[in-house]
């Protein structure tokens, strides 16, 4: 019975997110105040529903629901939506939902469709695993927003550079606001990602006696980390303009998605 309730709650939340996405995109291309309100309301309702779903799942499992890949993706979405609601207010970017929600919905739609639940080997069941996953997960959520901000930045930069404003130009916020948001989400996400990965590595060396074992998720994660490290380094130390930083942020997110894909398709220590 709790399992069906949980599934129902999850479906309701996802439906609300889809509705919110439609509203947000409608607001981006159309110009109706109402569709933006609908998007905001649906996002909030979906998030509340999602919260309950996660809690129910946790109670049902008697543990934090962040051990299997679907669980992790679900919580990443949950944090990303929360961050989106915050950033939309904080930076006054009404168009943000139109760029974050498609990613959220995309992730949400693959979630129930046969992603294998990755059972972890008994050896790695320890308290550290929670911290490792939780940190990496917070990092991932911030990077979802980072991707959206970078994407919006590139769109707006193109508009301004081309000197021929289109409809989207009027809906997107100032370039520097987008740059600030993308920098903020990167500096928020990167430390979490780093700490999460570091913990994973340390802990892998303790468990298996070697730091770099042939585990696809770990290796892909390292590649992702390197791309994001380069982005952050380029911004703080180099003379990178928003555009190059945005390209790197998008590349980082692409490797991140590849990492997720790899962990599903390839087998390693993370997956059984």
């Amino acid at each position: 019975m709790p399992a069906t309730v949980n599934a129902l709650l999850y479906d309701v939340a996802l439906t609300a997110y889809i509705l919110a996405m439609a509203g947000a995109l409608g607001h981006l291309v159309g110009r109706r105040e109402g569709s933006w309100r609908l998007a905001l309301l649906a996002t909030q309702a979906g998030w509340l529903c999602h919260t309950v779903a996660i809690v129910v799942r946790g109670v049902e499992l008697r543990r934090l629901p962040i051990l299997t890949l679907p669980e992790i993706v679900s919580v990443v979405i949950w944090v990303a939506v929360l961050l989106e609601l915050w950033a939309e207010r904080q930076y006054r970017i009404r168009a943000l939902g139109a760029f974050v929600l498609p990613v959220v919905v995309g992730l949400g739609l693959v979630l129930p469709s046969g992603l294998r639940a990755l059972a972890l080997e008994p050896v790695i069941r320890s308290a550290w695993i929670w911290v490792h996953v939780a940190l990496a997960l917070l990092g991932l959520a911030a990077l979802v927003l980072n991707f959206a901000a970078a994407f919006m930045y590139l769109l707006q930069e193109r508009q301004l550079k081309a000197r021929r404003p289109s409809r989207v130009y009027y809906r997107l916020p100032p370039l520097e606001t987008l740059d600030r948001l993308s920098h903020r989400t990167l500096t928020l996400g990167f430390p979490f990602l780093t700490a999460g990965l570091l913990l994973g590595l340390l802990w892998a060396s303790a468990a298996w006696g070697s730091v770099l074992t042939w585990d696809p998720l770990a290796l892909f994660s390292l590649v992702t980390w390197v791309v994001y490290a380069a982005t952050l380094g380029g911004r703080t130390l180099g003379r990178w303009h928003g555009r190059r930083a945005a390209y790197f942020a998008i590349a980082g997110f692409a490797t991140l998605l590849l990492t997720l894909g790899a962990s599903v398709l390839l087998q390693g220590r993370h997956g059984a």
């Binding site: 110009r31 105040e33 707006q156 301004l160 550079k161 000197r163 021929r164 404003p165 130009y169 009027y170 916020p173 100032p174 370039l175 520097e176 606001t177 740059d179 600030r180 911004r235 003379r239 990178w240 303009h241 928003g242 555009r243 190059r244 930083a245």
Partner: protein, 430 residues
């Protein structure tokens, strides 16, 4: 007869400026006109909106045509303009048309530059002036307060007034699209063209500072720097200054570009990640075309700015269509409310009339029954009450229905006639 709401007047569309200016009066004279028109008794309520683009009389009168003639005769009298001279330019609308017009004017949808912000203040002033002269009553009061709230909704819910439609203000708007806030953004002004000065002023008004001014003639640079609270710099220092500022406004008569790609590249190199916005108002252009290809540099020449102006105009037009739809809904709502209000006085006097008859007849009957028990009195009371209610029911329903259907006036007449009601005073039954 009850009064009709009307608007009569002329705007930039129908009347040439010579005619409009002949009727434009300052507040003191308008006060006299308002009082004079009200004194003639042709209007129940009247107010006058007089701006450089429109002279309009808003009012309630039994005969709007007469009221319009009286008002424009009085307006013309101050400059010796005969009514016959302005009559051909006058247009008027009544009732629903007048409500729509009032809402559209206040929301700046009827303006020469659609969405400009001044008109709302001007209408508010006109209303206050008429109120001070005690020439407004319930109808104009309701109309204007609704018009102001419609204007506010149009402002907040559409972007009709938000987009810049002049070259210099578009430059400022673009700076905002790039930098967000302008506070603390440095500006370099090259040359001394009027449009460049306007753009620089706009940026400074938005919070941009500091300002540097460079000119071929150092004296002119110093003068302009002083006028704009900036610092004059030598032409030779321009490349160095360019690395520090965020916006460069160029408007010189130089035959060749004075901002070269090499200079811009050096400036960009020194400024790390901050974007650089160049506004090139010079013809021939002051900035080399290759500059726009640099990463983080945005360069707009006069044609580009004009292009954005056009695009903003189109966007405003689309927003205006949304605003028109909003106004249309508000007009319907307002008319429905007015119509409900219009039959209320008749219903009240109808009730009063029948109640008076009932009381009179009941008292007469009771006088003939001195020994009546309290029960009998109660029965008689209830009987008379119930007869009155049954008689009242159809006409009241008819009045309400007809007013909602838009022909309440006829039924007000009929019911008043049939029941021998006195007309509501002052003709303000609407």
């Amino acid at each position: 007869m009850s009064g009709t709401l009307f608007v009569a007047g002329m705007t930039h569309r129908g009347a040439p400026v010579e005619v409009r200016e002949a009727l434009a009066l300052e507040d003191d004279k308008l006060r006299e006109v308002l009082t004079a028109v009200a004194a003639t008794g042709v209007t129940d309520e009247v107010m006058i909106v007089s701006t450089c683009n429109r002279v309009e009389v808003y009012g309630v009168a039994e005969a709007p045509a007469e009221a319009r003639a009286a008002a424009f005769r009085a307006l013309g009298a101050h400059r010796g303009v005969a009514l016959a001279e302005v009559e051909p330019y006058l247009a008027s609308v009544n009732e629903a048309g007048a409500v729509r017009h009032a809402f559209r004017v206040a929301a700046s949808l009827d303006s020469l530059v659609v969405g400009e912000a001044q008109i709302l203040g001007q209408v508010k002033d006109a209303f206050e002036l008429a109120r001070a002269c005690r020439t407004v009553g319930p109808v104009l009061n309701a109309l204007m307060s609704q018009a102001f709230s419609v204007a506010k909704r149009v402002r907040t819910e559409t972007e009709v007034g938000r987009l810049a439609v002049s070259v210099s203000s578009v430059a400022v708007e673009l700076a905002r699209k790039i930098f967000g806030r302008l506070e603390g953004k440095g500006v370099l002004l090259l040359g001394a063209g009027e449009m460049a000065e306007l753009a620089a002023r706009g940026l400074m008004d938005g919070g941009a500072s500091p300002l540097y001014v460079a000119n071929r003639t150092p004296v002119r640079a110093r003068e302009l720097a002083e006028a704009l609270a900036g610092t004059a710099v030598a032409l030779a220092d321009v490349p160095a200054v360019m690395a520090q500022v965020d916006v460069v406004v160029a408007c010189t008569a130089a035959p060749e570009p004075i901002v070269r790609a090499a200079d811009a590249r050096a400036a960009v190199h020194d400024r790390r990640t901050r974007p650089l916005f160049l506004i090139d108002l010079g013809v021939p252009r002051n900035v080399e075309a290759a500059v726009n290809e640099l990463d983080g540099v945005f360069c707009y020449d006069v044609d580009d700015l004009q292009h954005v102006v056009e695009s903003n105009r189109r966007e405003r037009q689309r927003e205006a269509e949304r605003a028109e739809a909003l106004v249309e809904r508000e007009v319907d709502k307002f008319l429905a409310r007015l119509r409900d209000v219009e039959v209320v006085p008749t219903i009240v006097s109808l009730r009063e009339r029948l109640e008076a008859i009932r009381r009179g007849e009941l008292d007469k009957a009771l006088a003939r029954l001195p020994d009546a028990s309290p029960e009998t009195r109660q029965v008689l009371e209830a009987l008379s009450q119930s007869i009155v209610n049954k008689v009242l029911h159809p006409p009241i329903e008819k009045l309400r229905d007809s007013s909602r259907a838009g022909h309440g006036r006829t039924w007000i007449e009929v019911v008043s006639e049939v029941f021998g009601l006195r007309r509501p005073p002052g003709g303000r039954s609407r």
